[in-house]
Symmetry: C2
Subunit: 405 residues, 2 copies
Amino acid sequence: MSDSPTARRVSRRGLLTGGALAAGGALAGGVAVADPPWVRTASPVPVAEVGTAVEPFHGPRQAGVATEPQAHAAFVAFTLRPGTDRAALGRMLRLLSDDAARLTQGRPALADTEPELGLLPARLTVTFGFGPGFYTAAGLHAQRPPSVVDLPAFRIDRLQRRWSGGDLLLQICADDPLTVAHTQRVLVKDSRPFATVAWVQQGFRRAAGAEPGRTQRNLFGQIDGTANPRPGAALDAAVWVPDGPVWLRDGTTLVVRRISMNLETWDLLGRTDRELAVGRRLDTGAPLTGEDEHDEPDFAATGPDGLAVMPDFSHVTRSHVSDDRLKILRRPYNYDGAPNPDGHADSGLIFASYQADITRQFLPIQQRLAERDLLNEWTTPIGSAVFAIPPGCAEGGWIGQQLLD
Amino acid sequence: MSDSPTARRVSRRGLLTGGALAAGGALAGGVAVADPPWVRTASPVPVAEVGTAVEPFHGPRQAGVATEPQAHAAFVAFTLRPGTDRAALGRMLRLLSDDAARLTQGRPALADTEPELGLLPARLTVTFGFGPGFYTAAGLHAQRPPSVVDLPAFRIDRLQRRWSGGDLLLQICADDPLTVAHTQRVLVKDSRPFATVAWVQQGFRRAAGAEPGRTQRNLFGQIDGTANPRPGAALDAAVWVPDGPVWLRDGTTLVVRRISMNLETWDLLGRTDRELAVGRRLDTGAPLTGEDEHDEPDFAATGPDGLAVMPDFSHVTRSHVSDDRLKILRRPYNYDGAPNPDGHADSGLIFASYQADITRQFLPIQQRLAERDLLNEWTTPIGSAVFAIPPGCAEGGWIGQQLLD
């Protein structure tokens, strides 16, 4: 709570300039102290409203996709039990949709055994995803979107079963970790007759209000998500399915990959080498050819040595996409487990990207990155899963109804 | 972030009354809709300041004890390496104190490899504790406070080595989870020449601003911490060491116990049985003989059946202490891991209590609870550790200097 009698506040300007000096000049490349135009001004919301803020549940599209990312997430993947057929899936999704409709609005679930923990939604969203096995179980194999299938193996992968696959996904996000824990508890309990838990990945970003309007940083210290399509027409073109089977219109697809980050070897690099690996400055997130985070990288620019300023092996160069319809919407969360006895961190990223079509949008980027992204030296994909995200539902309806009913 | 265009807010009154109705009358016992007098009015702090709020590091007493609990914590326990003697401990604590002094004030550590992650303190505190093995390593066996020794075995214990013991503890708390992760990373890295990681326990409470001024709830839905000594003279009398060896004056002691909570069997109980087990109403936290959370329980009151309204086996009855000097200051965090395939939660409480003397204050309460606390049916201690918390230090000084220098 910020009302501790001893707490005081320091200005962002003081922090950043003080920090730059304290880091022995490492930041001398320049930290922007004036907010650039794309940083939203912090709204004068008192901290007391973090708990009571509500995201809508009902609507043509599911929440938790275009929603400004909340601070905490649990990705919960299920394996359907033998016998969970189309009718059973309908019962399961009616029940889970009702739970989610209530909890996201700050009302306990019907069978909530800890109703007091259901009263603070903190922008809770519950987003449902259908994995490759879902359609087979429902006897609707032909309805599987062609791109919702296990990704091809990449050279860089070291996938573990414990973080991979899944027939059904619930992405639970909120600005309060107790709300996420309670929602996870309720939804897992109500799923039990129909499914077992395949894996759970819990992650975090900056706390609500800690850094409003800024792009998230990962545990490498990198600004992560700058190239996302901007909210509005660009995001809509990238994310939402405009055609194809009726049940998937206003839906999308989700790729979840667990990326282990080797902080030990990353920390051995100097800042210049890190910035070359990423293609962006670590402090501002600006491309190496620009001044501000959102400047377009200039891949044609060369330095005095005649070499490209944006190296061909940099993450930004390899992942760059100009056409909004081919972009992906990244919505990742950090994870940080307990270090091992020698102090080596168990840290990484729960990479989550939304796009209308995995094959058309995600795969080409991933293939370019797998071939030749210098960041591969310090990152290892250890889990992978894909899901279709069906459309939303109106009040009285349920998620998946267009497919199953 | 609360400035999402789709987010809206609902009033606390609407939430609570709506919630009570939705829960099928389960809450009909009454949820207070008007804030009682001990609830601090939410200060008009914009959410933007969650990240920049600062707690002092330097001072006669360490921060992180009387400090209003932050939303996130990592308890990191170390085993000293062979050869880490008094001189080495001095070097280690100089280094870690310098790291903590900087990071808590929003400045990167001297050797910070991700300095951008050190700029938002979010009320970061780092609290140092010295376990039983610390004094032996320092050749200062006689300086060990007598109560800082492994607790006696309790009938209810199922202790695991992986959550127990430790020569040195760092309690890292902040309102932002990325700040906690980065601080853990820096401190573990700088400890590596001197110590290995014995265990790490990561936990959470409500997000900053989610429920200002309210007592924390645990994953059973119980309000947890009502009987804590109030800030000021009562807290000071319970927590801070007023005499004894000079190096411990203005210090305290800490008990950390990992308490597994069996939500499966707890959820089988009705609300009345749960309230009898606790001795408090689940909604308001009021004792069964009172109306408001902070009403004193009346242990003499009897019901129409002639039985005590506050059962002898209830948690509140067994743990009740009237004398402030014999109270303990609980500062617990929830933990919630991944459920097993069958959906059984890995949930519980990182119990943390501060008191001037473990033997005089903690042990009698714990013995009464171990003998006959109905809550034992649903909770199991699986880890246990004790530490002395040395006094704070002035600018230019370091934690432990009074003992080691």
